[in-house]
């Protein structure tokens, strides 16, 4: 049994953007979650936080806009929109740890039915671990959204009963946005909120977690 191709990365990002409340303060993790910014229009009132010390972060800088003193968490030059504010790293992570951000969007290797997330380390013995701000983000934001493909390249599901990779945070994820479905995790059952080019029964057959139709 195969699951037919679902959303592209950009479509996934658009789907995540759709669930970000008007005026929310949001941190987009480095990598794919950064794409979500492209789907938040000015009218969304969303304010982006970058953990290296800025609120109301702007889009990627182009040409003459590039300023070596103005980077996002992925070390990409960005611009400063009106209403920006700067702060140092301890203040930035205090903002995060103190639950002031409404939403953060993270990539993941695995998410468990209970809302655990693993996204910093494959556990491979020769891998060089790097955690950055992932653990702080995972436990800090009021809502943690994960954006990932539902299946690894080898076909194994990334939404799992228990994470086998080293954890980033425990019981902190609320929603998982994948190419084939959106899930709510952290409750007694995983709720399938929406599917894309696949059916609830297909998902139930492929996943080893207790599912419920949303």
């Amino acid at each position: 049994m195969t699951i037919s191709a679902g959303l592209s990365k950009d479509e996934m990002a658009a789907r995540v953007a759709q669930d970000i409340p008007h005026g929310a303060y949001v941190n987009l993790g480095i990598g794919q979650p950064t794409l979500v910014a492209d789907h938040l229009d000015a009218g969304s009132g969303v304010v982006l936080h970058t953990e290296n010390g800025m609120l109301n972060m702007g889009r990627a800088a182009v040409g003459d806009e590039v300023d070596g003193d103005l980077l996002n968490a992925g070390k990409v030059p960005v611009v400063e929109p009106p209403g920006a504010a700067y702060f140092h790293s301890a203040d930035s992570f205090a903002m995060m740890r103190g639950s002031h951000l409404d939403v953060c969007v993270l990539g993941a290797f695995q998410v468990s039915a209970g809302g655990d997330i693993a996204n910093w380390h494959t556990g491979a013995p020769d891998a060089i671990p790097a955690v950055g701000g992932a653990m702080d983000l995972a436990i800090g934001a009021k809502q943690v959204f994960v954006m990932m493909t539902l299946f690894a390249k080898d076909g194994t599901p990334k939404l799992v009963p228990e994470c086998t990779y080293p954890l980033t945070g425990v019981g902190c994820v609320s929603r998982v946005y994948t190419d084939v479905a959106v899930f709510e995790v952290g409750g007694p059952e995983v709720v399938v909120v929406e599917t894309f080019g696949t059916s609830y029964d297909d998902l139930a057959a492929r996943l080893d977690v207790p599912l419920r139709q949303g």
């Binding site: 008007h22 005026g23 929310a24 303060y25 009132g45 304010v47 936080h49 609120l55 109301n56 400063e80 009106p82 209403g83 920006a84 504010a85 700067y86 702060f87 992570f93 205090a94 903002m95 995060m96 740890r97 103190g98 639950s99 002031h100 951000l101 800090g140």
Partner: protein, 219 residues
């Protein structure tokens, strides 16, 4: 949500519930949210816990709130002043509870609340009556007292200016407790001298970013 810019003080203090813990900024009159306190007096919430550096002066502001019997408990560092007679009287009559906290612990405990720190080992007050009954621990040869966060339901902050998103700047020593309290309360209400357009503040000078600010009123 970015801050709501309120037209009136009444709108700014609307909905403060009985029994709330209210963080009140200011050191002396510098940074004191005088109009917001007056608004709170009008608004009517009672059975309050007030967290502030002092416990009121003369007959206005916090002293007036106290005089009306609306404050159950004061958490502060320095209640006794030459003109703190309202607090002094209520305290001696047993009508208001006092938790005395060293000024730096007051600030750091609110900072911990805002920063998601569960508790911290602090060297201040070790061996004094203010640490009595508190957990202590020796770390690297020095004794520390375990201190817990102080959270507010509401913070009332006096500042200099804000933009329409709620980014806030202070002026000189009027900064004092405001920026810390703004991080430590569920709802932060700021009174400013003026509200400017978004883009009207220097982003390097913003001390309280809009994420911490719920309501702003120009007075």
């Amino acid at each position: 949500m970015t801050a709501r810019i309120c037209d009136t003080v009444a709108e700014a203090v609307d909905g403060i519930a009985d029994g709330s813990t209210v963080l009140v900024g200011g050191f002396g009159l510098a940074g004191m949210p005088v109009e917001l306190i007056d608004g709170l007096i009008e608004q009517g919430a009672t059975d309050l816990t007030v967290v502030s550096n002092n416990a009121g002066n003369g007959d206005t502001g916090l002293a007036a709130l106290l005089a009306k019997g609306r404050v159950r408990k004061v958490i502060c560092s320095f209640p006794r002043q030459s003109d703190s007679y309202v607090f002094d009287g209520l305290y001696r009559e047993g009508k208001v509870e006092l938790e005395l906290v060293p000024q730096g612990n007051l600030a750091e405990r609110m900072r911990a609340a805002g920063a998601g720190i569960g508790a911290f080992f602090c060297p201040t007050g070790v061996g004094t009556p203010l640490a009595e009954g508190k957990e202590t621990r020796e770390i690297d040869g020095r004794t520390y007292v375990l201190e817990y966060p102080i959270r507010g339901d509401v913070a009332l902050v006096g500042a200099h200016a804000s933009d329409r998103m709620g980014n806030v700047v202070y002026r000189k020593t009027a900064r004092n407790f405001g920026p810390v309290m703004a991080t430590a309360a569920a709802t932060t209400i700021v009174q400013v001298r003026q509200v400017v357009e978004v883009g009207g503040l220097d982003p390097e000078k913003v001390v309280t970013p809009s994420i911490y600010v719920d309501r702003v009123v120009a007075v």
